[in-house]
Symmetry: C2
Subunit: 190 residues, 2 copies
């Protein structure tokens, strides 16, 4: 999506440690009118897939997921990050290692809100190694829910998340695919 | 707001420990089409106040804050919860004690995204003792930003958050004001 690529080039910053800082519009400050355009684009891609629930993980994907659910006129479900000690048998859980925060998170979804009736679209802000998305897919599998696709705003295409999700047969739609970040320069996958 | 009161009576549950569980539509699972109606109501209340930024705190207020910012056609800013050890001089911080999680959180906002040009509307899911809102107000004060109001979906009116905010001269608009929860029954303030 050309619009997001232009926004990243204009407002994003490449920092040390393979960090693409886009917190001026995507996750710390959210440029909501702009994010609504991204959500509309996600909707256009999946609108004929029968999606009835959007799933994300707290906290930085919630804004985009919420706006996307608005286009689908459906509910949105936020997987909580918790500690294994809190887990009851009323929830589905899966673990995801976060390279950003260098720790293992347990993702938690109440069994009440996800079932085999659900056709789920997973939405997040970033796709890198895909650990968070794979954990959400695991949770959907436990619930018997069908994953109709995975859509993230910014993909680091040089990491293995995209391919891991495609290998599962999923429709993966990233709005901007970063192929390379070097010396402060960003190159997108054509 | 009658609509939210009805939703709470229909779908909410009173649990032990003064907990009003509304995670089926407000924070874990978000009934986005319904939350958009709440956001529209918040917009109607503050639309003439010159609001140019919505401020919330991660994670459970993000959905409603995002939808509210959409009505104002403005940006939304999420105060992060962090540890004091991460603090740089590029951020505003304030501490808020969370009774729900029984711990002190440091709320963090980048100085880049909040300034004296900003007319801020604070939005959150719950207002109880007001600690999170008071910390956000403190952050706005540090930035020289003007707080135009505080709007939360559900207020526990028998706790002191509402009065503490009104005492600061703020326009506080809660969409449902719970006056009493006893034996699983909920009474609203008229």
């Amino acid at each position: 999506m050309r619009l997001l690529e232009e926004k990243i080039l204009l407002e994003g910053k490449v920092l040390e440690g393979d960090v693409l800082k886009v917190d001026c519009f995507l996750n710390h400050q959210m440029d909501v009118p702009f994010l609504a355009k991204l959500a509309k684009d996600i909707y256009a891609h999946y609108k004929d897939c029968g999606v009835n629930k959007v799933l994300t993980v707290e906290a930085s994907g919630i804004g985009l997921a919420c706006l996307t659910a608005q286009f689908f006129n459906c509910k949105m479900l936020v997987a909580k990050k918790g500690k294994t000690s809190n887990i009851s048998n009323e929830v589905y859980t899966a673990t995801a290692y976060s390279y950003t925060h260098q720790k293992e998170n347990t993702l938690i979804v109440s069994k009440q809100y996800l079932s085999k009736e659900d056709k789920v679209l997973i939405v997040d802000d970033f796709l890198a190694n895909g650990n968070a998305c794979l954990a959400l897919i695991d949770i959907c599998k436990q619930a018997g829910a069908e994953v109709k696709g995975v859509s993230c705003a910014v993909e680091k295409s040089y990491q293995n998340g995209h391919d891991a999700l495609v290998a599962l047969g999923l429709d993966v739609y990233s709005l901007a695919r970063v192929g390379k970040m070097e010396n402060g320069k960003i190159e997108f996958v054509k």
